[in-house]
Amino acid sequence: MAFLTFSNVTKQYGTRRALANLTCGAEAGRITGLLGPNGSGKTTMLKLAAGLLQPTDGEVRIGGLVPGTQTKACTAYLPDRVSLPQHFRAADAVALFRDFYEDFDAAKASEMLRTLGIEPRQRISAMSKGMQEKTQLCLTMARNAKLFLLDEPLGGVDPATRDYILSTIIRGYNEGAALVISTHIIGDVERILDDVLFLQNGCVTVADSAEHLRETRGKSVDGIFREVFSCLQN
C-alpha cells in the first residue's frame, strides 16, 4: 500500500492541463524518482502533495488523509526555490522549524549547518544562492518526517554540490519514510532511486522499480529516460 497516492488526479490551470487523470503512488521506505522534462507536471504533483494546490479532479492521499494540517505535520517539502525570508538569520529558520514541527531535530540541523560553515547569526540574505539552498535542504532533512517531497534539489548546482546534496539526502532520510525526488538530471540521482515514475504532459508513462527497469530494458534509467523522451538524437 503506497503511503502517498494520486487517484485519477487532474489539475487544470485555466485552460492548460498540468496533470491528466494521474494515478500513481510512492511507498514508505522507498525512494521514488519523479522524472520528466520541464513542464511535465512534476512540481504540480509535489505541490498537490504538499497541500499548496487543490486538485481540479481526483484525490491525493497521504497515509490515508487528504492533504491538510495533519499531513503537513508529517511531510517535509523542499520547494524548487529559496523560500526562507531574506531577513531571517540561520538561527531564526531553525527556531521556526523547531516551533512548528514536532519531528524536527534542531541539534541535527544545527550540526548540519555548522558543517557547512553557517553561523547561527548569519543572515539568509548574506548567503550565496547555493548556500541558501543548502540551508533549506538541511532544515528539510533534519526532520524525521514520514514523507519527503524534494522538488528539483539538484537543479542549477555544480557537481560537487550535487554530491553534497545527495549525501545529505541519504544521511538525513529516515529509512521508514517515503521519499519523492523530482528531477530531470537523472545521471547523478539514479544510484539512490528504488522506484521511478516517468512523467510526460501530466501523464505517467513509466512506473516501475529502478532495478526491474534496468533489467528488462538493459539500460540505465538515464538511458531509458533519454530514449523515452527522445533526447538521444542530436
Partner: protein, 267 residues
Amino acid sequence: MFAKLMKWEFRQTARVMLPLLGAALLLCGGGLASRGVLYVLPLGPQWLETLSALLYALMTFVLFAGVFVAYFYAVIRFYRMLGNEGYLMLTLPVTPAQHIGAKLITGCVWVAAAMLFSLLLPGTSFSTVITSSDEQVAAALSEFWPGMPLYLSFGLFLLAMLFLSMMWMYFICALGAQWPQQRFGATVVCYLVTSFLVQIVFVMAVGVFTYIAAYSPLGASLYNSFMANPTGTLTVWMLCASAAVAALTAALFFIVRWMISKRLNLA
C-alpha cells in the same frame, strides 16, 4: 498552533516596530526632560527651548511614521506570504484561517499601539494638566465621564475600521495572487479597480442616506431621537456601524481564506 503562530508573528514584527516606538519614547523622554528643566528654570537658555521643540517635532514624525510602517509592514508581510515565502509558511501545519488571523491581529495591534502612542505622547508637551488645580481637573472629568459610552463606541468603530481596512488590503493581495506570473502588477490593478468600485458604492450609499435623512419618515424619526438624546443616539449609531463593519470584515476574511486554500497557485 495558533498561539505559536501569534508568537512568531509578534516576534517578527516587533523587530521593526519596537525600535520605532522605542525611538518615539526616547525622544519624548528627552523632550520631557528639557521641558522639566525649563519649568524649574523659567529663564532657561533659548537653545533648550529649541531643543525641546525639536525633540517633540521629531517624536511626532517618528510616531506618524510608526503608524504608516505598522500598517504597510503588515500588508507587505501578507503579500510576501503569497509569494516565495508561501512555500515555507503555507506548508507549516497551520490552517489558512490561522495564518490570516495571526497576521491580521498582529498588524492591527501594532497599528493601534502606534496610534495610541501618537495620541498620548504628544500630550506630554502640554503643561495644562501639571498647572491645573484639583477643581479644574475634577470639572474636566465630570464633563468627560457622561460621554464615556460614546467615546468607547467611537473607539470600537475605529478599531473595526482598522480591521476592515487591513482585511481589505489582504483581499486585494489575495486577488492579485490569482495571476501569479504578474502578481505585483495584478495587485496594483486590483487595488485601483476595487478602490474605484468602492468609492462609487460609497458615493451611492451617501446619496441614499442623504435622501432617507431628508425626505423619509425614518429620517425624521432619527433626527428626533438625535435631538432628544444626542449622545445616546450617536452611541447606538456607532455600535450599529461597528457591527456592520465587523460583518464586512468577516465576509472578506472568508473570501480570502477560500482564495488561499482553494484558488492559490504560488508562482
